[in-house]
Symmetry: D2
Amino acid sequence: MAGNSFGQLFRITTFGESHGEAIGVIIDGCPSQLTVDLEYIQSELDKRRPGQSKITTQRKESDTVKILSGVFEGKTTGTPIAMLIPNEDQRSKDYTHNVDVFRPSHADYTYQTKYGIRDHRGGGRSSARETAARVAAGALAKLLLKSQGIEIVAHVSSVGKINAPNVDISDVQEFINQREENIVRCADPATAEEMIEFIDGIRKAGDTVGGKISCYVKNCPVGLGEPVFDKLHAELGKAMLSINAVHGFEFGSGFAGSEMLGSEHNDIFVKNHTGDITTITNYSGGIQGGISNGMPIEFKVAFKPVATIMKAQATIDSEGNAAEISGKGRHDPCVVPRAVVIVEAMAALVLADHWLRNRNAILG
Amino acid sequence: MAGNSFGQLFRITTFGESHGEAIGVIIDGCPSQLTVDLEYIQSELDKRRPGQSKITTQRKESDTVKILSGVFEGKTTGTPIAMLIPNEDQRSKDYTHNVDVFRPSHADYTYQTKYGIRDHRGGGRSSARETAARVAAGALAKLLLKSQGIEIVAHVSSVGKINAPNVDISDVQEFINQREENIVRCADPATAEEMIEFIDGIRKAGDTVGGKISCYVKNCPVGLGEPVFDKLHAELGKAMLSINAVHGFEFGSGFAGSEMLGSEHNDIFVKNHTGDITTITNYSGGIQGGISNGMPIEFKVAFKPVATIMKAQATIDSEGNAAEISGKGRHDPCVVPRAVVIVEAMAALVLADHWLRNRNAILG
Amino acid sequence: MAGNSFGQLFRITTFGESHGEAIGVIIDGCPSQLTVDLEYIQSELDKRRPGQSKITTQRKESDTVKILSGVFEGKTTGTPIAMLIPNEDQRSKDYTHNVDVFRPSHADYTYQTKYGIRDHRGGGRSSARETAARVAAGALAKLLLKSQGIEIVAHVSSVGKINAPNVDISDVQEFINQREENIVRCADPATAEEMIEFIDGIRKAGDTVGGKISCYVKNCPVGLGEPVFDKLHAELGKAMLSINAVHGFEFGSGFAGSEMLGSEHNDIFVKNHTGDITTITNYSGGIQGGISNGMPIEFKVAFKPVATIMKAQATIDSEGNAAEISGKGRHDPCVVPRAVVIVEAMAALVLADHWLRNRNAILG
Amino acid sequence: MAGNSFGQLFRITTFGESHGEAIGVIIDGCPSQLTVDLEYIQSELDKRRPGQSKITTQRKESDTVKILSGVFEGKTTGTPIAMLIPNEDQRSKDYTHNVDVFRPSHADYTYQTKYGIRDHRGGGRSSARETAARVAAGALAKLLLKSQGIEIVAHVSSVGKINAPNVDISDVQEFINQREENIVRCADPATAEEMIEFIDGIRKAGDTVGGKISCYVKNCPVGLGEPVFDKLHAELGKAMLSINAVHGFEFGSGFAGSEMLGSEHNDIFVKNHTGDITTITNYSGGIQGGISNGMPIEFKVAFKPVATIMKAQATIDSEGNAAEISGKGRHDPCVVPRAVVIVEAMAALVLADHWLRNRNAILG
């Protein structure tokens, strides 16, 4: 129960520290006979990789993934799939400054107090480097979902106070193409430009800023989600909140919905021309009673600003004495551009798990 | 993996439908030798009970809880604790109208499609009546936490667009007294009055409205939460999102934090006059790296408006034909006053579970 | 993780003490649309019921089961199924003698030391009365398995040193009829008579004796079992060893197989006249590599003699002082006749769980 | 729920196939601050290593283990510990013969049918090579237990029909020394010689033979085990039955106990001269009501003969046609000498898990 596993039937267990030998993941419960496209998995990791643009950390990691087990002649065999990502560019000396000092709004103090010991190099296990393992596993989950026609896409919808307008997601590939054309990963080109300029200024000032990611699941069949505790949105919420720096989650109407009247908010059912049951509005965000209703699933994730800034800050040392610290190491001025693929990966892990779980809903 | 259990070490499993014989819960993993105050448990249920004021549903349920096992001579024995709450006032005939019709923004359609069968009476398992079992179990979790000095309090901070100002939580009992003096359960008396008036108007109009609940955990020791997936706020988030009608969760700086700069947002550590390590601000909401840091834990939960309104609405029947429906049964115009104790209960279940889990962090 | 749940997908959680208000079980994960034959469930409980013959305990319990949730119009709905069995004949005063004294080979001492408190009445949670909840849940699992053509049968194959010869299981109903014709539940009539006489003598002498139960699963499809830890026989073994008084488990060739040569022991595959793949011998007991191979599953369970005897025995009290104790209460001279249906129930729970788990082996 | 994890709080997840790149394990839930003796872990693996004597397989694997995470400056940090063992001597071509043919009493047929695909090289995931990961993790569990004074030892007590007399376990180190002096790992020197000669004859005949391992846990505190389903012996039983080739498990009086009378079998409590509560006999095998009682835990594990023999055998191919097969590859004539350390490892995993679980029995 130590918290490093996620999912019930499509279950991952991750390991690894920022400056250890390697990070990795075991996926247990992936059904057999799924075709494994290793290039696709690597391409997903490349979207999270450090050093990919001027607005990300300059740490150099190729994040090359290797599959050690569970795949035979290009297909899953039903046995556990281990994936390994060696660490390459560990400048541990960058972290001698925080051996005895607790960085503000980092996990140094809580890890040290909880465990009485911590790998201080680069945040150790609390580093966002850990999310590379999630992206690798999430890429496999996406392949499973794609084989069923289910697609997941996200983009940066806000940076600081800059908000993108609603973007059309009817053509998923088009949406992704648009998003990948800019380094901030916002699917609205004009807003993207504004965001990049803003982040670059923040970076030069040695500061950081937060942002939001919007995510959509398309072609999700009706029936995913297991009430009463494992409601689909509750599981998505947990998945998102488990990502480093996330401080908020909402789906469908979200926080704004709490200000609405029932008569405005209710999504009226209709049968559309193809005979499918849909709703006119989608304030439910594709989930009713904790179960997907066939409409697009929509949710939003809020990220706080990165805690490591290049400015001097007051803090205390491990004895509780006043100290000063200023950021060293190589860090992101804004985490959301690299987090888009993490959000998608965690969503894919939830959806793959619930797709499997739902196969046993009816005796059939 | 069917979703009716919550927690790992302090683990509950609930059962029961709105109009069945009874609802209930088994708590497995409560340590032995906890004194069980049955009156306290009942008093918590009374706060969730229907029919308690003019702004709640008029269904009459005493919600009398009975402990069937696991308690001997007033103390827990370490064996599973079963609690039973019989259903009393099941006017099932109120629900003949939705046998073949899907109520908008309810779970009728998704349950019917997922399982191919549903208990249509009062929403069956999807009814918020299910949360009574959570409140009973949560009351026991609160007793466990209280024995360790940990306290959890919540109140209604918003109804529709009416927002309460920040309320002082330094004296928890005072806060609760204030809150319990009004039927909307807002600890700010002036705002409470405004909210009550607004809800009463909504009720008379046959409509419903959403709202928000703010929750605080005080005297939480440092160390609770299990990275990387079972971060304390991720578990709280899942717990809250699993409550009926919840559409959003944020902790600490929350969504607003995503608009801030790192230099503003970082919580600076200081040693206070009693020698405790605290932070000047608390944008982290009492949790850093997924682990409690000793500061008050603060989070907010957004509830959508209740779906059952007393107005005619368009919908479809089980054949997909257009139909009309108008609310019958007895429902709440606004769910948040009764949900305060549900939010507290779910928070208590998470905290009790993590308090137990954290006991094994260090070999010791 | 407190040990009162069993199974992963077809998951039960039991509660209740020997002399509390009631015992019961929640089944979570039973798929929807299974027809629930309550009479059948009750008839299974009747086979475990005390007081059914001269060679069982004379405690009077009707063991009437009531379903509180999860079943609607005679079918499962996919929501949790709670079953309740009230305790009726609790002569708690029979147990005043063991408040402060530890009965030999009972769980008094270990419960008291582990939890620091125990419900001493009739063994509390450690009483075999708890198995009634397993039988109720197991009966539902049997209904699920029967809907798939899978059948489970057991009988008493040994009492003390009296061993039944191998019995034909080709006609399951015939086998059960034979078994139910005698009170010891051995399918070989001649041996049954001998066993009954022996047990009756033991009873009159105030003593008890052990025995063995042989169990068979027929028409099990190929593929059930989840290597490497949840091998089908490992799960069956745990299930059986969790039953009160069980001290040993073997499947297929079992302990005798450890004395054989590979050239004797290997089960040679053949295609039979109906085109099915079978093996000539079945030393594998229907399971290879932890996965069912389509042959009958065969295993044997060894029960120690009941610890409560009607003779004076030396022991110690809670202060560690020497004391004497002699059995009061109403107990079985030999547990196996009533345990046959418990063995079947636990086997059914394992099989139902793995039948569901196996549905996700292949992406399909 | 795919079966590759074991344990609840001290939880391992293994991966890897016989002829893949590597095998390995993640341990999640090991408390922080345990000193990790890597040499000890390697020395345990050396006892399972192939090629160690004339009576084991001649496959050459150094089984060198590498720790990738979770250990910092020689101590556990509370984060997941990944261990990797690369495969070195994979003569995959030895296995071209079983691509399309099902080896008798192997898992070829069941894996192929369950998953529709299998890694046929050396048994893939069903190979006993997988147990190396268990031994590595079990060695860490032993270190944890040793830090609490708990010791686990096993030896080969039978090979075929050759049985060792009862061996004194009062001095654990002495027992181990005795055992390690011979290649069959029986602590009785005279019997060991007889066993070795017998196995060598079997090997020369191209045949194989089964055997039994007896295991003892010393200094186990009272209280380990979680009724009613996770009784300590039920968990030990599952652990043992999950080891390749195991067909039977018994503890305490075991199968023989089923032939005894209650008046013979009951273990009488006494307070010994040091004030400890013990029992005169130990038919309970150190466990009462599923909870350890402070006496030595004793159990026995039966292994069937290895299925791969060097003789021609009839079988069928994947089309169901009659075929012939004769063993190639490098295999053990008798598995028990190398399995001693596997039995100890699995016992250690159960004990470490339950030692952690028991820490939460009492509120304290």
